[in-house]
Amino acid sequence: MSDIIPLIVAKYNYWLYIILMMIGLYAMIAKNNLVKKLVGMNIFQTAIILFYVSIGYKTDATIPIIKNAHGGGHGHAAQTIHAADYINPLPHVLMLTAIVVSVATLGVALALAVKVYQRYQTLEEDEIRMRLTENKS
């Protein structure tokens, strides 16, 4: 037991992202309302983004913008940059892309939801299914 607690503490961000991912995935699968499902979808995607951002984090490092790059005349030619001083920028780049992709998907999905509502006058999946069976019979 004593070695599990440091494990949890050292990686609590990973644990958190797993919890959020589970919440999002559960909402996407189990919820009945289409907008709720979309909220779940976004929570799911944000959880993954949190995971990537956690990958990039480094202790004792600062944000990935080079300090004094153009300040102090031509300082930057002589300045040496240590990788350990700055947070890894690559996951941030990937996640910028992922955020934009998620908002694009959200836009299209909401457009579809509005279209579904125009047709069935409801956002509840079971009610839509009921209308469909009514139409058939």
């Binding site: 990973y14 940059i81 990788a83 690559l90 299209v108 457009a111 279209k115």
Partner: protein, 274 residues
């Protein structure tokens, strides 16, 4: 359904928890993710691209191809909303309010409409715009939001921000206008056709810069080669290329955000809405 969902979710959670044990410790500077590729980006980016914001440098240069498709995703979303929701049929009837007396007139026939005059105001059926305070505050605020958006785009090389953020902020300033006044105000200020052109223009700028690099003899998006066409400092040309690209991204994102909003809020009729 709930039980199945619970089962699937627990299974996924369990698998991921199982893998967590082997992940490198959180914030470890020597983890593979921080020691394989990223030192190159951190140590060489300023020298190679002359851009101090590493995220922008990686986003628009090293992984510029990704970013082009990211813009393409946004562009595609805008087109998709137009394709799905745009409704060219006209809604029946319209409401006018006589401003001095507050009397509302309802025209049931579309063919007739109130002649333009200052006394009558075209009114939404569902959405009643907010009061004077709201309008005035937003009116004062919007130019500053837009100025800030432009700053974010232009200053993306040196500080957090860039084309996406700037574009989204600019787009949301127009959305704010739509919410505080009404949708028609926005649609009159910036026509649908103009928005459509702007969507295409932004990504065309991005792709065009890439193609220019190819014409100059480099690979696609190799901004370094632009120095051979344009009279610019070869050491700084990559940064300039990135600014150009970011402007393109900003334009597309701005236009697409407004297109998506307008189409969702008015169900594609572009007449009235939130």
């Amino acid at each position: 359904m709930k039980f199945v969902a619970f089962l699937i979710v627990s299974l996924c959670g369990g698998l991921l928890l199982y893998a967590t044990a082997d992940l490198p410790a959180w914030g470890d500077p020597n983890s593979p993710a921080s020691s394989h590729l990223s030192p190159h980006y951190i140590e060489k980016a300023l020298e190679e691209t002359d851009v101090p914001n590493l995220v922008t440098a990686v986003l628009a240069d090293y992984r510029g191809y990704d970013t082009m498709f990211e813009t393409a995703v946004v562009f595609c979303a805008g087109l998709a909303c137009l394709l799905l929701l745009r409704d060219y049929s006209r809604r029946e009837g319209s409401f006018y309010r006589h401003i001095p007396t507050g009397v509302v007139i309802h025209f049931k026939n579309n063919a007739k409409s109130m002649p333009a005059s200052r006394e009558f105001e075209h009114m939404d059926k569902e959405w009643v715009p907010y009061d004077l305070i709201m309008k005035t505050v937003c009116r004062i605020l919007i130019p500053f939001i837009q100025l800030y958006a432009l700053y974010v785009v232009a200053h993306g090389d040196f500080s957090p921000g860039g084309g996406f953020q700037g574009g989204v902020i600019f787009g949301s300033s127009l959305i704010l206008l739509a919410i505080s006044y009404n949708l028609r105000t926005v649609v009159q200020r910036i026509r649908e056709r103009a928005l459509g052109f702007l969507c295409a223009l932004g990504i065309l700028i991005y792709t065009g810069i890439g193609v220019l690099c190819m014409i100059a003899g480099g690979n696609f998006l190799d901004y370094g080669k632009l120095a051979e066409i344009f009279p610019v400092d070869p050491g700084h040309v990559r940064a300039l290329g990135m600014v150009g690209v970011e402007i393109g991204v900003g334009i597309t994102v701005m236009a697409v955000m407004v297109v998506i909003y307008v189409n969702i809020a008015s169900e594609g009729r572009h007449d009235e809405g939130l």
